[in-house]
């Protein structure tokens, strides 16, 4: 009986060692990639953060609620759309273009921004025009610091902010919701007010994508839509700009958009608000409770006309 012999494959059919080693590495990498979304992504760690002024001692909204109930229309109109889709936004590298009526225009890289401006924690109330509110510990620095750094020219009166307009990042149902990029504006004295900050983090962490990573505006006495997310451009201008929501529905959204329980909105009752973390409804305060700090900015103005 002839002993059985293993068939010897021709040399051209033998997989080279390098290839099958690569395949193992590839499978291991796939496993790691599957596990990765579960881990908090910290592209850039934040430098030292010190407690800042104006913080409230009210109960804070949980991180879970603040990161899963978001208005970020670039990623869709539903409250959970940003949490589902904002991972597509690549925030590293990122730079903010500063131009218009400034002494030193140019692009500022996120690393430079984080290195140049000392970070503070500011625990602010956030009141949305949709009549809900949160209390959020932001990490950021006064917008006034950045404006001082680039030098505002004397003829500048307003600050225009722009988000991103890469529509391929947006889910299909978000692409035509508004004119992109999202635009917002502040009068120069509002922009220079010490309450106004550029936030780069919250809850002690780098800003989550769905909350406007890597850098967003926070103006606590105005409705939330003024606090533009994922800023790409800051322009100092002479004329008052038109913000995105104002352009879409001027009867509903004004340029100032100060929190004001007396000014009626056709869609939401502004006299009261729901604190999302405890489910309770409370009375809305004029200027979201920051009247002592900001009311003087609007002396002599009819706020029912300049809403």
């Amino acid at each position: 009986m002839r002993p059985y012999r293993y068939r010897v494959p021709p040399a051209r059919e033998i997989t080279p060692q390098q290839t099958w080693l690569n395949r193992r590495a590839l499978i291991a990498a796939m496993g790691a990639a599957l596990a990765a979304p579960a881990l908090p992504r910290k592209a850039t760690a934040l430098p030292e953060v010190v407690p800042g002024p104006f913080s409230t001692d009210e109960a804070q909204t949980s991180f879970e609620v603040a990161t899963n109930y978001c208005n970020f229309f670039e990623f869709g109109p539903a409250k959970d759309d940003p949490a589902r889709h904002a991972h597509r936004l690549i925030t590293d590298p990122w730079s903010v273009t500063i131009d218009g009526l400034v002494e030193r225009p140019g692009a500022m890289a996120m690393e430079d921004i984080l290195a140049r401006f000392p970070l503070e924690e500011r625990i602010y109330r956030l009141r949305c025009v949709e009549a809900w509110s949160m209390v959020i510990p932001w990490i950021g620095f006064p917008l006034a610091d950045l404006l001082a750094n680039v030098g505002v020219r004397p003829d500048a009166r307003h600050v225009l902010f722009e988000g991103f307009d890469d529509t391929e990042l947006m889910p299909d149902h978000a692409r035509n919701l508004l004119e992109w990029p999202y635009r917002e504006g502040l009068r120069l004295d509002e922009a220079l007010h010490p309450l106004t900050i550029l936030a780069v983090g919250m809850y002690g962490q780098v800003m989550p994508n769905q909350n406007g990573a890597p850098i967003r505006l926070v103006v606590p006495w105005k409705y939330g839509f003024k606090s533009i997310k994922s800023i790409r451009r800051i322009s100092l201008v002479a004329e008052r700009p038109v913000s995105s929501w104002q352009e879409r529905a001027p009867r509903e959204y004004g340029y100032y958009a100060n929190v004001n329980p007396q000014v009626r909105h056709p869609r939401w009752h502004q006299a009261t608000e729901r604190r999302l973390h405890d489910g309770g409804r409370i009375r809305t305060e004029m200027f979201n409770g920051y009247g002592e700090e900001v009311a003087h900015l609007y002396d002599g103005m009819d706020l029912s006309e300049h809403y």
């Binding site: 879970e64 609620v65 899963n68 109930y69 109109p77 409250k79 959970d80 919701l177 009626r264 056709p266 869609r267 939401w268 009752h269 006299a271 009261t272 729901r274 999302l276 489910g279 309770g280 409804r281």
Partner: protein
């Protein structure tokens, strides 16, 4: 074969109509409605009510086209369930959205058109729900009962207007619903016109 008794036909309709509500309750208790469940409860009960409304309105036409008695039998239970979901919607608004604070709810009802439209639709549906037992048409006379139940049309118009006011972006689903309702109303008008000749 004798026709099945009415309750034997109605029971499955009642059971099926309860499914969305039971599913929603179960999701709520399981914590599956996201980080702000009150809002999901509010929105979904409103949608359920609109869904049952359009189906209820469509059954008359479905009966006319097919001649199946089942469609007529199903109409009253589905109408009652439409009212039940609308009532749940209003109760969730009052107890969860407004935090059960009557003063806030009254202020919002005074100020906001969508609340007024929704409450008006609910009020119009109340007599229809109250006269939904077999005894009602017998007691008040079938003609009067039928005339009373024409209130479903203004109630539907108010509910639709309510939905349009609360939606910020153009909703294709809502437009389809409006077209369907307009179509059904036109069919109804045509039916009356034909019956008169």
């Amino acid at each position: 074969m004798a026709p099945a008794p009415r309750w034997r036909m109605c029971a499955p309709i009642w059971a099926i109509s309860a499914v969305p509500g039971i599913w929603l309750l179960w999701q709520w208790r399981a914590g599956a409605l996201g980080v702000v469940p009150d809002e999901v409860l509010l929105h979904l009960t409103g949608r359920f009510a609109l869904g049952f409304l359009i189906v209820t309105l469509g059954l008359g036409l479905a009966h006319f086209l097919t001649g199946w008695r089942l469609f007529v039998t199903a109409r009253r239970p589905l109408g009652v369930w439409c009212f039940a979901y609308a009532l749940a919607h209003a109760a969730i608004w009052l107890m969860l959205d407004q935090g059960g604070i009557i003063e806030f709810a009254l202020a919002e009802a005074r100020a906001m058109v969508h609340v007024q439209l929704g409450l008006a639709a609910l009020v119009l549906m109340l007599p229809l729900a109250l006269t939904s037992l077999d005894a009602a048409p017998r007691a008040m006379g079938f003609g009067a009962w039928k005339r009373l139940h024409l209130l479903v049309w203004p109630a539907a118009a108010l509910a639709l207007a309510h939905a349009f006011v609360v939606s910020r972006f153009a909703s294709p689903l809502l437009s389809v619903l409006a077209l369907a309702m307009a179509g059904l109303f036109a069919a109804r008008l045509w039916g009356w016109w034909r019956a008169r000749r």
